[in-house]
Every structure is written in C-alpha cells, then in structure tokens.
C-alpha cells in the first residue's frame, strides 16, 4: 500500500451536474446500508430458491402438526375400553382384569383416554405449540437459513456479481453489513412466520381433540418471555448463518458456506455426546475438562438460553448454564465469524 503523502487534498475535481432524471438518495453510511439491506431482501424475495426453501419449511411444519393431529385423532376415535388394563386371559400382570369391567373401571378408562389425548395433543395448543414450533424451526429452519446465507454471500462471489457491487460505490464494510442485516431479517422472519404458522395450524388441529385452550397462562410476563424465546431462536439461526457467511466469504462459494455450517452443526451434537460419554467414564480433571467442552458449543448455549426461557412458558427445568455464560459464548462466536469475514472481505483482491 502506498505510504505517499496526501498532497492532493483540496484539489478534488468538482463533480459535474447529473442529468435531472438521475435522482440520488441519501449517501450517509446508515442510509447506504439500509438501502443495501433493502436490495438484499428484494433479491432474496425474487429468488426461486427462497420460495422453494420457504415452502419446504412450511410443509415440514404442517407435517409435524399433522402428525400430532393424526395421533390425537387415533386416540379420539379409540373406544375408552382400549384404555382398560389388559385382560388376564391375554396377559397375566398385577393390574390385569379377571372380570368384566365395572362402571368405575370404565370411567377410569375414559379418564385415562382423556389424559392420553391431552398429553399427546398438548403440542397443538398454546403454550406447548409455541415451544414445539420453535423446536421444528430450530432444525428445518436452521438448515434452510444456512442454505440461504451461503447463497446470498457465496453466490455473489461465485457468480461474479460481487464486482458489480464493489464498483457501484458501497464500501466492502457496507456490503458485509448489508448481508448480515439481510440474514438477520431473514432469521427473525423465519422464526416469527414459522411460529405463527405452527400456533395457528396447531390451534386448528386442536379442534379434533375437542380440548379447549386454557389461556390462564397468558400474562404480560409470559408474553415477554415468549418474545425472548422467539428472539433467542432467531439468534440461534443467525449464529449458524454467520458460520455460513464466514465460510462462503472465505471459500468464495455457496457450497463452502452451506456444507461447512451444516457439518459444524451436526458435529457439535456428535462431538458433544462423545466428550460427555468419555468424561463420564474418565473421572478426574481430564474427565471434567472433556465434559466442560460442550458448554462452549453454539448449540448447547442456544439450547441453554431457550431452556432458561421455556421454564417461564411451560413447566420445565432451567439449564445448568447461565444466560450470561451462554450470551458471552455466543457473542464470542459472532465476533469471531463476523470479524474474520470482514477482515477477509477488506483485504481480498476481487479477481473473478
């Protein structure tokens, strides 16, 4: 890089007046970034791939709720006698029936049927439908969003359109921020839309069960925790998308980002299980160390944040990891991935 003095300052060639038909927008940093985010979202919206991915996510969500509804329907149409203890003629167990069922036993069976139905169909109703739909979003939504993130970054490098952007005026930092902003918006929209679809479809399917929804749980505090729960779910998608962003920036290809982020996600689960198992059998400092490693994995920390909120939404135990620990770990990952992406983007020569 040239270290020559800036002696041309104050000698800038005056800009010529543009044609009256050219109407320029605001040129401050934030306005440019917001305009670029708008462009990114417009491009995402116009891609067929985005429509296919959204359709897949919605179909998976519908299928999951349809499965719960189908199981609930099976239970609903079953006669209450199905829930009686088995006849001693068929299976000799301590609770088997050696006589024709009495009225009390039939009532008990009807109650058991109702309990089973209530338990199985719980994900169809709030508050469980919220956690259930977020659970599905955390898997299928994550896969789809990683594909999207890899494509909107890697596609620019792979297709060569990156030079189109870099020669139009935005800085590389603005380019990166716009991509991150677009991914953030997509993460939030994915979680919000899929959660709403899940809750609505669940509520509709719940009519099969005939079980009413008790809105006794709904308070201001619950709504706040529900919002936090959704935001954490969006954060989870966003963090893995940042891995895709980093890897597709580094590899200048969509495949690098998508494959890398998904492998990371899958490996986290497997490696976490293996380390915990080894740590369980290997008591002592090494075992403790190995068991502690998964506490610094993205998935475990997002899981901890979700679990710490879900205790306020439906009866659940809080995670062993604190919110602060989880947030710090997530922040460290975000700084690492975004920082490296920025560094690569700033230093790279665009030669394709």
């Amino acid at each position: 890089m040239s270290t020559l003095p800036q002696t041309t300052r104050g000698k800038e060639t005056p800009a010529a007046v543009r044609r009256h038909t050219v109407i320029m927008g605001r040129q401050d940093f934030l306005s440019v970034v917001l305009r670029l985010i708008g462009v990114e979202i417009y491009k995402v919206r116009r891609r067929i791939m985005s429509k296919v991915l959204s359709s897949i996510a919605i179909l998976v969500m519908l299928a999951a709720f349809a499965l719960i509804a189908a199981i609930s329907l099976v239970i609903t149409v079953e006669p209450p006698s199905t829930f009686l203890p088995p006849s001693c003629a068929l299976a000799r167990t301590p609770t088997c029936l050696d006589h024709p069922p009495t009225q009390a036993e039939l009532t008990q069976a009807a109650q058991a049927k109702q309990n089973a139905l209530k338990s199985v169909s719980a994900p169809l109703r709030l508050p469980d439908s919220l956690t259930f739909s977020v659970g599905i979003t955390n898997t299928i939504g994550l896969v789809l969003l990683v594909i999207l993130a890899g494509t909107i970054v890697g596609g620019e490098y792979g297709g060569g359109t990156v030079r189109l952007i870099f020669t139009r005026g935005p800085t590389r930092t603005q380019f990166l921020i716009s991509k991150i902003g677009a991914i953030l918006v997509c993460s939030a929209l994915t979680v919000a839309v899929l959660a709403v679809i899940g809750i609505v479809v669940g509520a509709l399917a719940n009519f099969i069960t005939g079980i009413g929804i008790d809105f006794g749980f709904f308070t201001g505090t619950w709504a706040l925790h529900a919002l936090l729960y959704l935001l954490i779910a969006a954060l989870g998608l966003f963090v893995y998308s940042m891995i895709a962003l980093f890897l597709s920036t580094m590899g200048k290809a969509t495949a690098a980002g998508v494959a890398g982020a998904l492998v990371w996600w899958v490996l986290e689960g497997i490696v976490g299980q293996v380390l915990t198992t080894i740590g369980f059998f290997n008591r002592g400092p090494l075992g403790d160390f190995l068991k502690a490693i998964p506490d610094y994995f993205i998935g475990n920390n997002i899981g901890a944040l979700l679990q710490n909120q879900s205790q306020y939404l439906s009866p659940d135990q809080p995670s062993t990891l604190s919110d602060l620990h989880a947030l710090l770990v997530i922040a460290a990952y975000l700084i690492l991935f975004i920082g490296l992406s920025w560094w690569i983007s700033e230093r790279r020569d665009v030669t394709n």
């Binding site: 890089m1 040239s2 020559l4 003095p5 800036q6 002696t7 041309t8 000698k11 800038e12 060639t13 005056p14 800009a15 010529a16 543009r18 044609r19 038909t21 050219v22 109407i23 320029m24 927008g25 040129q27 440019v32 305009r35 670029l36 708008g38 462009v39 417009y42 491009k43 116009r46 891609r47 067929i48 297709g159 060569g160 359109t161 030079r163 189109l164 952007i165 870099f166 020669t167 139009r168 005026g169 935005p170 800085t171 230093r347 020569d349 665009v350 030669t351």
Partner: protein, 401 residues
C-alpha cells in the same frame, strides 16, 4: 479559458509529466538498488508531479504496480487521462489492462503506487470516486433470476440512487440508449451475449457518470452492435464524458480515441495523442521501375541519413503486393518532395512516391514487439524510457536510435 488554451495547458501538462516520468525512470535504472534511495525517488516523483495536477485531470496513476506473487502484472504505471478524453487502453492479452482497471476501481489493491481519480486517492476515498464512475469490467455479470429492468433497479439502489419509482425515467432512458427497452422484462438469464453486454453499458450509464470505464465493451457484439457502441462512445464524448476504453479492436480505438496508452507485459510502452503517435510512425513508400534502382535508392537514402538528413528514421526494402521491391522511408509525409529531390539529383527517378499513413495496428505491433524483444516485464523500464523518448522535446533519444 478557451478551448485552445485548455489544449495548450494539457499539452504542457503531458510534456512536463513525460519528462518527470522519464527522468525518474532513468534515475531508478541508473541508481543503486538501495531501498532507501528508491523510496526517495518515489516520493520525489509524486511531489514533482502533483503540483502540475489540475482539476481537469480525471485519472492520474503514479508508479502503480501490482504483483501476484512473482508475477508482476502491472509495473510502475503512469497514466494520465484528462476530462473529455476518449482514452484507448491497449495491450495484448495478459498485458495488465484489466488488472489496471480493477486497481482504478478498487477491486484490487496495488502492491505499490497510487491511483488518483477526480483528484481523490482511491485508497482513501474510493466510495466518492466510484459514485462518479460507470464501469464495465470484463463480461458484465448480473443477477440471472431478475429481468433486465429489475437488475438495473438493483444497481440503481447500489449506486446510491433513490429507491422506488423516482428513477423510472432514468431507467427507461438508459434502456432506450442500449435498445433493450422491449426486452426489459425478459429474465437476464435469457439474454444473448450481445444483450448482456448492452445491459452492462446501460448499468454503466445509469448514474450519468463523468467517467465511463469500458473494458472490452464490444465483446460478443455483432458488427452492427460494434458500430452502435462506437456511436454511443462518440455521443457520450460529445456530452463531455471522459471515456476510458480498453479494447483489442485497434481499428475501433483509432476511430474513437483521441489518446491511447499501450501496455506490454505490465509495462507502459506508449502513451500519447493518437494523431501524434501515428505521425511518429509515418512512412513514405517509393517504388522504382527496376529492382536494382530500388537497391541504389536504399543505399543513397541510408547514406543521406548518416550525412545530416536526421528526419529520416530508417530506410528499408519491402516487397509490395505484386512482389516488387519498394523502398520504405521512415519520415513525415511532407518530406516526400525532398526525398524525390535527393533521388533525382542522383539520377534515380521514382515511378511512384507516396506517404504511407501509419495506423494503430502497425504502431501497436511495433511497440509491443519491440518491448517484448527488449526483455519482458522486468526490464520494461528501459523499453519505456526508449519508447517515451520520441515524445520528449528535442528528440535526442530518437536521433540516437
């Protein structure tokens, strides 16, 4: 200032700059390889040049260099493009044209040197510079899933233009210019190569830029498309735009450009006004009735060259299309009568004597071949010094060639 005044001013600028460049070049060549010394010269060159810098300079590069590992793609490049120039940027494949354009646009960071556009250093004020440039770099690439119009909408927003329908008139204007209006709703993926190229030009013109940088804009265009681009360049030039045109089609460049620079293996081997450069390669063709007369004329003119006719650059014999020997004299056209007189005084009477106008193609082949023979990229500075010499006042170097 009158047009004439501007022209004189520019000429003075070019001359001064050429002197400084050549001087610095020679110093570096003759100086030691000591890093400290080299840096001193580098700083001196810039500070020497910059006082001459005026606001009509659109592009000014100083010692611009890019190396990819051991490969020096662009070496010590000094370019000047003035407001209103149609500047042809020539060179064989791999000579560093696209690398230079990418450095000007900030896509590639130079290994050394600097590029100043509109008086701003592109290492520090790239964003402001790019807002005044429309560019096509190699084959234009757009989003295949968007139509031509939607692609332009996206580019308009990226270029800092207001969003929404505010710029619909401008979008229609540029599509009209490149005659893509009737295909504006067709997906870009369905465009032909020529249509893609034209959309690239539309995108470059979108913000009504002051400088239009076109890297091989006629690639993929049919002859009618090439003519259309030529007309477009001339029209843009008449509107006061500065055009920086990189092309392989020398005939096109000769038709539209007022100034050219020629690169060879990353080195600038020629830069100047097209008319002046062509004049420097002017030749006079003499046909004699007999072959032995041609040989005598050759010897006579070679002797005359050595005896004071220093406006004769060289004398050779070639076979014309009918396989007859013709004497080729490197000299300005207005010297034809004088040559005829010299021949007649020695009882040699030419059957035909006429000027052979130089063209860019010949000039290009001449300078690129001689630069290649001079030893490639790493010894390119000597070639640069040599080839710049004819442009130096006094022409001292030229006489010694």
């Amino acid at each position: 200032m009158s047009n004439e005044g501007i022209a004189v001013g520019r000429q003075m600028y070019y001359t001064t700059h050429t002197n400084i460049t050549s001087c610095a070049t020679n110093r570096r060549i003759s100086g030691s390889s000591d890093e400290k010394h080299s840096t001193t010269i580098k700083e001196m060159v810039v500070t020497d040049i910059l006082p001459e810098y005026d606001t009509s300079t659109i592009i000014s590069t100083s010692r611009l260099t890019k190396a990819f590992g051991n490969l020096v793609a662009v070496n010590d490049l000094h370019l000047q493009v003035m407001r209103g120039d149609v500047f042809g940027f020539l060179g064989p494949n791999g000579s560093g044209k696209t690398t230079t354009i990418r450095m000007l646009l900030g896509l590639i960071r130079p290994t050394a040197g600097r590029a100043i556009l509109f008086g701003m250093d592109n290492a520090h004020q790239l964003s402001a510079i790019l807002q005044r440039i429309g560019a096509i770099v190699e084959t234009p690439v757009f989003y295949p899933y968007l139509s031509g119009l939607d692609n332009l909408r996206v580019i308009a927003a990226m270029s800092g233009m207001a969003q929404g329908k505010a710029n619909d008139t401008r979008l229609a204007e540029v599509l009209e210019i490149v005659e893509l209006r009737s295909y504006e709703k067709l997906a870009y993926s369905k465009y032909s190569l020529g249509m893609k190229q034209r959309l690239g030009i539309a995108a470059a013109l979108l913000t009504d830029p002051e400088l239009v940088l076109l890297d091989e804009p006629t690639n993929g265009l049919d002859p009618a498309g090439v003519i259309e681009i030529r007309r477009l360049i001339l029209r843009l030039s008449s509107l006061g735009k500065t055009i920086f045109l990189s092309s392989h089609i020398l005939h096109e460049v000769q038709n539209v450009c007022n100034r050219v620079a020629i690169l060879q293996k990353g080195n600038l081997v020629k830069q100047g006004n097209v008319s002046e450069l062509l004049r420097s390669s002017e030749q006079i063709e003499i046909r004699m009735n007999e072959a032995d007369e041609a040989q005598q004329a050759l010897q006579l003119l070679q002797q005359a060259q050595g005896q004071g006719l220093d406006w004769i650059a060289n004398v050779t014999i070639e076979a014309n299309r009918r396989e007859r020997p013709v004497v080729i004299v490197g000299a300005p056209a207005q010297r034809s009568a004088e040559i005829n007189r010299v021949l007649a005084q020695n009882n040699l009477f030419a059957a035909e004597i006429h000027p052979r106008e130089g063209n860019l193609e010949e000039l290009f082949l001449e300078v690129t071949t001689s630069a290649a023979q001079a030893g490639g990229a790493h010894v390119g500075m000597e070639a640069l010094a040599e080839t710049l010499a004819p442009e130096m006042p006094g022409g001292g170097k030229r006489g010694s060639r």
